[in-house]
C-alpha cells in the first residue's frame, strides 16, 4: 500500500517514455554525436600530444552528459504536467507531496539510466573497453546516485519556473556551462588556471572523475574526494527538489 503510489507514478513515467520512441532516440542522439565527432575528430591529435586514447577518456564524460541532459530535461515533464493539468490531479490527491515527487523523480532517473546504458553499449561497440569489468557494479552505483541528483535538480528547477522559455534559459545559462566547464571533455591538469579552477568548483567534475576512475583508472581528484562531493551534491539536490516541490501552488 505504501509503495503503491510511488510505483504507479513511476510506472506512468515508464509508459510515457516507452510509448514515444522518438524520445528514446532523440535523447541519445546528442551524446552519440559527441562521442563520434569528438572521439574521432580530436582523438588523433590527443594521441599525438602524448595523452593516450581520447575515446577512452571521453566515454565517462559522455555518460555523465547523457545523465545530465536527460535528467535535467526530464524536469520539463513537471512543467508539462503543470501546463496540461495532470500535476493538479496528483497534487489534490491525499498523498504526501514527497511521495509524489519520489515516484516521478525515480521514473525520471530510471529513464536517464536507460539512456546512459544505451550510450555505454554503443561506446563498447565503438571499441571502448572498461579497464576492470569487476568494477562495473560500482560504475552502476555511481550512475544511479548521479541520475537521482540530476533529476532532483531538474525537478527543483521545473517547480520554480513557470514556462518552457524559462526552462530554456536555465538550460543555456546553467546546464551547458556545467557540462562544458567540467572535466567531461578535457583533462583539468593541462587546462589554463582559470578553466581548471572552474572545473574544480563544478560538482559535475567529481562525478566525471568517479566514473573515469572506475572505468579507465584515471583520476584527477581521487575517488575518495569524488564520492564525498557526490554524496553532498546528492543530498543538497534532493533537499532542493523537496523544498521547491512542496511550495508549488497550482
Amino acid at each position: 500500500m505504501e509503495f503503491d503510489v510511488i510505483y504507479i507514478l513511476w510506472l506512468r513515467q515508464m509508459k510515457r517514455y516507452f510509448r514515444s520512441r522518438s524520445r528514446v532516440l532523440g535523447a541519445i542522439g546528442q551524446p552519440i554525436l559527441f562521442l563520434l565527432a569528438l572521439g574521432y575528430g580530436i582523438g588523433s591529435v590527443y594521441k599525438r600530444a602524448g595523452q593516450g586514447n581520447y575515446l577512452e577518456f571521453l566515454v565517462p564524460g559522455i555518460i555523465v552528459q547523457t545523465l545530465l541532459f536527460s535528467g535535467v530535461f526530464w524536469g520539463i515533464q513537471i512543467l508539462f504536467d503543470k501546463r496540461f493539468g495532470f500535476l493538479k490531479e496528483m497534487l489534490v490527491a491525499p498523498v504526501p507531496r514527497v511521495k509524489i515527487l519520489l515516484g516521478n523523480a525515480l521514473g525520471g532517473s530510471t529513464i536517464s539510466l536507460i539512456q546512459a546504458l544505451l550510450v555505454f553499449v554503443i561506446s563498447i561497440a565503438l571499441g571502448f573497453r572498461p579497464e576492470n569489468w569487476v568494477l562495473l557494479p560500482l560504475v552502476f552505483v555511481i550512475a544511479v546516485a548521479l541520475s537521482i541528483t540530476l533529476t532532483s535538480f531538474g525537478a527543483g528547477i521545473a517547480s520554480m519556473v513557470e514556462d518552457f522559455q524559462g526552462f530554456q534559459g536555465i538550460n543555456n545559462f546553467l546546464i551547458f556551462p556545467l557540462f562544458f566547464l567540467s572535466s567531461a571533455l578535457y583533462p583539468l591538469n593541462n587546462a589554463p588556471t582559470w578553466l581548471r579552477i572552474l572545473g574544480e568548483v563544478n560538482p559535475l567534475s567529481y562525478s566525471v572523475d568517479a566514473l573515469r576512475y572506475t572505468l579507465i583508472h584515471q583520476t584527477h581528484f581521487g575517488i575518495g574526494k569524488d564520492l564525498v562531493v557526490m554524496s553532498v551534491t546528492l543530498i543538497l539536490s534532493v533537499a532542493f527538489a523537496v523544498n521547491r516541490f512542496n511550495r508549488i501552488q497550482v
Partner: protein, 268 residues
C-alpha cells in the same frame, strides 16, 4: 452544525497587494447543489483552488467535511472529487490507466479497484473505449472521463469548475442529469461554477454570487430575484454585478491575469 459540509469563514486570499478573495463566508449543507457564480476574475477559481487545497488562504478558515483544509489536508482531500476547469488527464495513458492511477492515489483497496473502474466507465459510456489513449478522445469524452475519475473514490463532495465549458447540449444535459441524481439519491454535495446562468437556475438549490472578491448575494433563485426586484436569475445577476464587460485582468497589473501577474512577480 453537523449538517454543514463546506464552510468558509472570513476567507481572504491576496496575491501581493491584490485581494483576489476578500473576506468571504458561506456554508453549504450536505446533499445541497450549490452554484458559485461571478464574472471573469471575480475570485471563483481562486476560491475553488483554496477549497481543494491547491492554494493556501491568506486568512480565514475553510472546512470540508469537518476537516480544516490547511491543517488536515489529507482528510480534506479524501472527502472531495474535482473536475478541473482545464482537463487534467494523462494523454499518453489509456482511460483505464488514468482511472487506475487515480484509484491508487486515493488508496482504493486493490480488490475493489477493477469493479469500481468498470462501473464508472460504463456509467459515463466509455467502457468500450477504455483501452484507447486519452489523446484520441474528444473534448466531451475527456470531460466524461474526468467526471468518472472524480467519482471513483466515492467523495462526499464534488467540485465542478465550469464543467460544461465547450460541451455540446447533449453532453451538458447528460452531465447535469447525472449530477442531480448523485445529489438526490446518494446525498452527494455538489459545488460548481459556471457562466451559463440557465444551468445554475435549473440545477442549483442555492446560489452565491461573487464579484471583486466579495460575495454580493446568497440564496435560492427566488430569493435572489426578490432581493433585487427582478424576475429571472439573469436579471438579478446583472443587477448585482453590473453590465460592464470584464476580462480576467486588472489595470494595476498591466492588464495581466491576476495569477499570471503573481507568477511573474514570483510571489509565492
Amino acid at each position: 452544525m453537523p449538517n454543514t459540509v463546506i464552510s468558509a469563514q472570513n476567507v481572504v486570499k491576496t496575491f501581493g497587494d491584490i485581494k483576489a478573495v476578500d473576506d468571504i463566508s458561506f456554508d453549504v449543507k450536505a446533499g445541497e447543489i450549490f452554484a458559485f457564480l461571478g464574472p471573469n476574475g471575480a475570485g471563483k477559481s481562486t476560491t475553488i483552488s483554496m477549497l481543494t487545497t491547491m492554494l493556501r488562504p491568506t486568512g480565514g478558515k475553510l472546512m470540508l467535511n469537518n476537516h480544516d483544509v490547511t491543517k488536515e489536508q489529507d482528510k480534506a482531500r479524501k472527502s472531495f472529487g474535482i473536475v478541473f476547469q482545464d482537463p487534467a488527464l494523462e494523454e499518453e495513458l489509456t482511460a483505464y490507466e488514468n482511472m487506475k492511477v487515480h484509484a491508487v492515489l486515493y488508496g482504493i483497496p486493490k480488490d475493489e479497484q477493477e469493479q469500481r473502474i468498470e462501473e464508472l466507465l460504463r456509467l459515463v459510456d466509455l467502457w468500450d473505449r477504455r483501452d484507447s489513449y486519452v489523446k484520441t478522445y474528444s473534448g466531451g469524452m475527456r470531460r466524461r472521463l474526468e467526471i468518472a475519475r472524480g467519482l471513483l473514490h466515492h467523495p462526499k463532495i464534488l467540485f465542478l469548475d465550469e464543467p460544461t465549458l465547450g460541451l455540446d447540449t447533449q453532453t451538458r444535459n447528460l452531465l447535469w442529469d447525472y449530477v442531480e441524481k448523485l445529489s438526490r439519491h446518494e446525498g452527494m454535495t455538489i459545488f460548481f461554477t459556471t457562466h451559463y446562468l440557465d444551468e445554475a437556475e435549473s440545477v442549483a438549490d442555492r446560489i452565491a454570487i461573487i464579484d471583486h472578491g466579495k460575495i454580493v448575494a446568497t440564496g435560492t433563485v427566488k430569493q435572489l430575484a426578490k432581493q433585487t426586484g427582478t424576475n429571472t436569475l439573469e436579471e438579478a445577476y446583472l443587477e448585482l454585478t453590473g453590465r460592464g464587460v470584464r476580462d480576467e485582468t486588472s489595470l494595476s497589473n498591466n492588464g495581466l491575469n491576476v495569477r499570471t501577474a503573481l507568477r511573474n512577480r514570483n510571489i509565492r
